[in-house]
Amino acid sequence: MTKYFLLLFILLPCLSYSQTYKDIESAIEKINIQLVKGYVIKNGKSFPEEINDRKSLYNFIKRTYTSETNEVHQTFLSIEHSIEKYEAGQKPTEFIKSIIDKYVSYEYDEEVLEEIIAKIPVGNVTTIKKKIDVDIPTNNDQIYEESSNNIATSLEDKKQEINNRGAKSIKKLADEKHEKSNKTKTISWLKWVFLFVGVFIGLSAPKIFRCMNKFLNNIRSKPNSNQENLNSTKNSNIMDDSPKAVITKSIKGKSYQNKKLNWIIAHTSEVGRSHLVTKPPIPCQDNHAVKKLESGWGIAISCDGAGSAKLSHEGSEYISKEGIKLFEAIIAKNDWIKKSVFPSDDEWEELSLKALKKMRYDLEQLSKFKKVDVRDLACTVIVVIFSPLGILTTHIGDGRAGYRDLSNTWKPLISPHKGDEANQTIFITSNPWLAEGFEMSGVKVPESNVFREEITAFTVLSDGCESHSFQLGYFDKEQQKYIEENKPYPAFFEPLTKTLVGMNKEGLSQDQINNKWKNFVKQGTEKLKNESDDKTLILAVIVE
């Protein structure tokens, strides 16, 4: 008897945690509606009366404040994401007030919000802290996975599920209380198993609620059935069955499998002139990382720190290094190199999105550790995975990348994300891209692509180098219009790749090549010398 009561005693607080969570969610939904309503009315417009939940509110916001940097849009997303940071034991009213203080950047009616907050049930300020939860491995990016999957609805649905589950186990326990003791030993053993499961779920209700994620198995260290589905049968038929195979060239990469592919890569990041004339001088905010893997595979990453962010040089350094580790792990776990396969377009889009979210989450942890705002570490990121099969790309922000195909034609790999003003862009620390389907200047953020063709050279650069190496556009005087372009300039890249190949033939070491490369990027042309922005330039060419 007593053991049942004991279990109830433990389970109830967990349920009350989820009830408190539900109350907070509901209060925030009302608060968000009031915030946006106040803003709209203040600007002399009308607020549709039928908006009564977060889903309709979010649709309204997307329609009315489409701009990615709009404060209403940003504030709404920031508040919604921060709900999940609620910890058992925190006072709901204090928690909500801290969120409002932190994220609302425009004027609002305090009284109205106070009213809503006052109505939150005080609830059981539970004594169960997170640490007591059952040992479920920390899945960091699930926070973003959770919020990205249609934040307006899935939160509600998933919480319902958990609450039901909790309620069921309580009910079953209550029923079993009444069973007579003349049960057989087998049945009482089963009861114990069931009780154990019930306790497990009850104790970890808060954690499960935050950690439910079936997709994460793709990049976790333990192999499981989901991973199998991703790798085996799908990918091996990818070229034959997928519709894209009809359009793109067939994988000639198979011819590469027997050749020994060798990449020669020159890479550097140099500080821009403008950083040197300020007081005090600003460090180079560009960073990059390159790693060759086996069989002609490898990863190249370029990160450009935000000029206005005081620690963005640390942010860009962190992201470029962590990116290499993370994508190396993805390649290994999916066994692409050994099996010589590429993911499908959808698979790559999913994988790269998760990876970028994880990198962003880790950067946030770093900012907490350093006790700074994560925006102080803001930077862009371009990731290129190169191989005999072709190239995988994903990026957030500006900068450029290009490749040379078998016909010796240079083509672009990415379309930079640009804002209204010529030097505006989006960063990995920005909130808007966490909502799926976000676009900037007509380009998805993040933008992920798979190029399934043999390449003979590629390049990745930050925007400080773009006007020197890419054709960016021209002014059509007849039409009185500026026509945008995104073409790697062959007269820039061809001489450089030839020199690279030659240097390798002459037996120059990687260090010697990089030193000459640094010199070139610093002052190789008059324009490069006078370039005010930081410059990152990575150039890779195949030698056999």
């Binding site: 002139r273 030097n423 042309t525």
Partner: protein
């Protein structure tokens, strides 16, 4: 070249544009050496910009003068198409009207960039005055407009006081800038040391090329102005 060094050719790219509008006080009090020095300074500025081929292709310049009337004496154009006007003094100080004309000018130029799809950087409006505005000028109205516009990141506004200028008025209408902690702070108006227009315009031309380098522009990292600026700190 031998395989000893890297070399390459760069494409001719259409430079992203930026408009800088000077709004200049030509009231009677500027007569004599002030206006002479100012004219010399403007010519210097024109020369400095023309020398730097990158900035010469990026920077559009306009000049609005105000005395008893407001006049746009140079429409927005690249240096190669611009002859710096020679300013002469006349009348009183319609400062607010002058600044408003300059703001409208840069806003419509920006709209033209947008309409033709040209990439552009944030415009600058630089006010140069030596006195106090006429009593009928709505200084507070201008101050709140500039506060809203600079917080909206529409343009950068720099008020410069020449000797004898009423710095209080200039501080009232100064624009807002975000500091490293993302707090909005009102900028301090800057005072010219004596009549060091030449140094001032050198600094402006250096700043123009740096504006192009700053990412997302909400913090303007200006070069050291101590060669021409006296008394106040930025």
């Amino acid at each position: 070249m031998a395989h000893n060094d890297f070399s390459a050719e760069s494409p001719e790219n259409f430079e992203q544009k930026s408009i800088c509008c000077f709004v200049v006080d030509v009231s009677g009090s500027m007569g004599g050496s002030p206006i002479d020095e100012l004219n010399k300074g403007l010519q210097e500025f024109h020369y400095e910009i023309s020398k730097d081929s990158t900035t010469a292709n990026r920077l559009e310049i306009a000049v609005v003068e105000f005395g008893s009337n407001v006049d746009t004496v140079a429409e927005p154009s690249l240096v190669e198409n611009l002859t710096m006007p020679n300013l002469t003094t006349k009348g009183s100080t319609k400062l607010v009207d002058g600044v408003i004309e300059a703001i409208d000018l840069v806003e419509s130029r920006k709209a033209w960039y947008k309409q033709t799809g040209q990439p552009y950087l944030r415009p600058w409006v630089i006010l140069i005055t030596d006195g106090a505005p006429d009593p009928d000028q709505d200084v507070n109205g201008l101050a709140s407009r500039i506060e809203n516009d600079t917080k909206d990141k529409r343009y950068v506004f720099l008020p410069i006081g020449v000797q004898g200028a009423d710095m209080n008025i200039l501080n009232t209408i100064a624009g807002y800038n975000q500091d490293n902690d993302r707090n909005w702070k009102k900028m301090q108006a800057m005072k010219l040391q004596g009549l060091k227009f030449a140094d001032f315009f050198k600094w402006v031309s250096a700043s123009m090329s740096i504006v192009a380098g700053s990412k997302d522009g909400d913090k303007v990292d200006l070069p050291d102005p101590s060669s021409w600026m006296g008394g106040f700190t930025i």
